[in-house]
């Protein structure tokens, strides 16, 4: 039997858009007047769904509207959603940096939040002094910090600098120390928001490992917000997908990520074809990038075994455009998969592109693992820089549509980023 440690009921948070200024003073007076008359706050009735791309008619928006969920002890809940979906607002409410407009949150146990590590670090204080200060800000007593001091220093690996003011630290060391303090908090509930963006790969791994320990061995509950689907998938066992302040999907992490990726592919800003208008200012320009199937039709969803083709169209408007090549950068679930240069197999392309339009067709490796793929287009001079970039140009999705051999390396269930069917030779 598992136990509910967080219970959120009808939670809503309203924000006012625009400036807080003279207009809001009039609203404040109005509000007070309604309250004196014993009526409900008039501005709570209005307010719109929080879709940042559409211009709304009201100045009030609901960053979160009627959210309900429960988290049980030991669960690691990954909260996903696009920018502005309400993830951070939810974490802010949970960590009590602001109050909800209506509804309630009930919590069992001590909550620690890592909304941004290094909070309260004072640049003039030494690492040692900051460990104590930061620990106290996060809610530890002096004695607790003392007993864990060596562990923290050890974990962050900045022993040599411990009596140097943190303003002399590199940003990576800063994060290491800060995360070290936070990771040794021993809270029953840990709230983490995108802390791992800084720090080198080795440290990120260490930090993720620590979070995993906290949840699996400590039996503690973790709420994790990140755009990095890979680390969410790795760490979390439950997921919640927020869209414009509403819970779109909640449940097992796999299903939630599926729902998220499904909607990403079909949302307005994601597309299987990219066109740029010809510009007079650019001599060399990407005109179009399209995702095509074998038959040459535009397509957004592919099966694991389907060949995926990319069409790349560009224009050159000056004579001496030498040493350039079209480039594709392919990402899967937010992770860089590979870069492909047109000049890789055809070095001659570098000085053989005359003025005019050029069209290329390239087939991506096959099979591909289930996931959402994002392609950036680029025209560049190898080793020098970019000439024209089509950032987030096209997206497509690979799903296990046809058949799912349980043991094959391309099945999503096995994990990993690329399918690798390798030859295992028995040599002994």
């Amino acid at each position: 039997m598992s136990n509910t440690v967080i219970k959120v009921e009808n939670l809503s948070k309203q924000y006012r858009l625009g400036n807080v200024g003279t207009g809001s003073f009039a609203h404040d007076i109005n509000r007070t007047w309604y309250r004196l008359l014993g009526k409900e706050d008039p501005y709570l009735k209005i307010g719109e769904e929080n879709d940042r791309s559409v211009k709304g008619s009201s100045d009030y928006i609901w960053a979160l509207k009627n959210i309900n969920f429960e988290v049980k002890q030991g669960e690691v809940l990954g909260i996903i959603g696009r920018n502005g979906a309400g993830k951070s607002t939810l974490l802010k409410l949970l960590s009590r940096t602001t109050s909800p407009t209506s509804g309630s949150i009930k919590i069992k146990g001590r909550v620690a939040s890592l909304l941004e590590v290094g909070t309260g670090f004072h640049p003039e204080l030494t690492g040692r002094e900051n460990i104590f200060l930061n620990g106290a800000i996060l809610g530890m007593s002096k004695r607790e910090i003392k007993s864990k001091f060596d562990e923290i220093v050890d974990f962050s690996g900045v022993e040599r600098y411990i009596d140097t003011p943190v303003k002399r630290y590199s940003s990576g060391m800063h994060v290491r120390l800060a995360f070290g303090v936070a990771a040794h908090l021993d809270p029953e509930i840990l709230i983490v928001d995108e802390v791992l963006a800084v720090g080198d790969a080795e440290f990120q791994k260490k930090a993720l490992g620590k979070m995993q320990d906290v949840s699996t061995q400590g039996g503690r509950t973790v709420l994790f917000v990140s755009h990095n689907i890979v680390s969410i998938k790795k760490l979390c066992n439950k997921g919640m997908y927020l869209v414009n302040g509403l819970v779109h999907h909640a449940g097992e992490i796999e299903d939630t990520i599926d729902a998220y990726q499904q909607s990403i592919v079909f949302s307005k800003s994601h597309k299987s074809a990219y066109y740029a208008e010809e510009s007079n200012e650019k001599d060399i320009q990407i005109l179009a990038i399209k995702i095509l199937d074998e038959a040459g039709n535009e397509k957004g969803i592919f099966d694991v075994f389907d060949p995926v083709l990319v069409e790349f169209e560009m224009i050159i408007k000056k004579e001496d455009a030498s040493f350039i090549t079209p480039i594709l950068l392919v990402e899967k679930d937010g992770v860089e998969l590979f870069w492909s240069f047109a000049s890789d197999l055809e070095p001659g392309i570098l000085d053989s592109l005359p003025m005019g339009r050029h069209k290329f067709k390239v087939q991506l490796p096959s099979p591909l693992k289930k996931g959402v793929y994002n392609i950036h287009g680029n025209i560049g001079k190898p080793g020098v820089g970019n000439i024209d970039v089509a950032y987030d140009a096209v997206q497509f999705k690979v799903d296990e549509l046809s058949f799912n051999p349980a043991n094959a390396s391309f099945a999503a269930g096995r994990g990993g980023v690329i399918p690798a069917i390798l030859n295992w030779e028995k040599i002994g």
Partner: protein
């Protein structure tokens, strides 16, 4: 996993450690929580102290320079030019004692009235009882006051060598009480102002010079006895700071006009302001991040 189930079965259902709701009870001041964060309070004081003097040569000695120069200024302007009497107290001691206690009040008020705006960065990221910050300000200023008080004591010792009698005795036990009253008033007014400035910044402009003007409405550069018989003396007496300053001088030098009644009046006003401040502060701290 096995350990997990054991752990969870112990905790009873529907027993929440914390309930976050939009509106709290008016009197929900959460002072217990402030006490739990007392380590943080002291660390903030330490931080303020260390951070202030890092990379300075004179360090805390800087606090002595300001009262010395102000005393010299007052001596010239109010003593020599305006010829205001100092109640049979040597002018240097009279001005320096006034400046010392006034500085404490003014710096308490100035630093606490900034609480929300100045700490929005840290408040927006992590929760701890917000009251810890203004309380730590009051304590930090106590350190500064202590240094200036030592200077005053040194000055008094110097004068006592030259024959001026110093009233050292059991009455000095009143000094901490008077300081606490100053702290209470500075804190109370400060948190009211800081709460009111989260949404509308107009008041911040006012505070800076209002504190300066208030000094002239308090018997700092003149003794209350100097105003005897003047029509506006009454207004100065309504100032809750007046009895505190007068008793402060009485304790130190045996000169000052106050009664038990006026001190009681001050205490009452301070308690009321402090209470009102706590009410407003605890209401504002819940949502100020949205408007600051």
């Amino acid at each position: 996993m096995i350990q997990n189930t054991e752990d969870t079965s112990i905790a009873a259902k529907e027993e929440w450690d914390m309930v976050i709701q939009p509106k709290a009870h008016l009197l929900d001041l959460n002072l217990k929580e402030v006490w739990r964060y007392r380590d943080l309070l002291l660390l903030f004081v330490k931080r303020d102290f260390i951070a202030q003097y890092k990379q300075t040569i004179l360090g805390p000695l800087w606090h002595i320079i300001q009262p010395i120069f102000t005393t010299i200024m007052f001596l010239l302007i109010f003593g020599k030019i305006a010829n205001i009497p100092t109640d049979a107290v040597p002018p240097v001691l009279f001005y320096m004692s006034g400046i010392t206690i006034w500085n404490y009040f003014a710096s308490c008020l100035n630093s606490t009235s900034n609480t929300f705006v100045a700490n929005a960065g840290i408040f927006g990221k992590v929760y701890f009882p917000r009251l810890v910050i203004p309380l730590s300000n009051v304590l930090s200023n106590m350190v500064k006051f202590g240094i200036q008080f030592l200077l005053l004591l040194a000055m008094m010792a110097f004068y006592s060598f030259r024959g001026y009698p110093i009233h050292f005795g059991i009455t000095w036990l009143w000094i901490p009480v008077l300081i606490l009253m100053m702290a209470g008033l500075g804190l109370g007014l400060g948190i009211i102002i800081s709460s009111l400035t989260t949404k509308y910044r107009d008041l911040t402009v006012l505070v800076g010079f209002a504190v300066q003007l208030l000094m002239y409405a308090t018997p700092i550069v003149y003794p209350l006895s100097f105003l005897k018989g003047k029509s506006y003396a009454r207004w100065i007496q309504w100032n809750p700071l007046t009895p505190i300053v007068e008793s402060w001088r009485y304790v130190l030098f045996g000169q000052g006009s106050f009664t038990a009644g006026t001190l009681l009046y001050s205490t009452g006003v301070i308690a009321a302001i402090l209470f009102l401040g706590l009410l407003i502060f605890s209401k504002v701290e819940r949502t100020f991040m949205d408007t600051v």
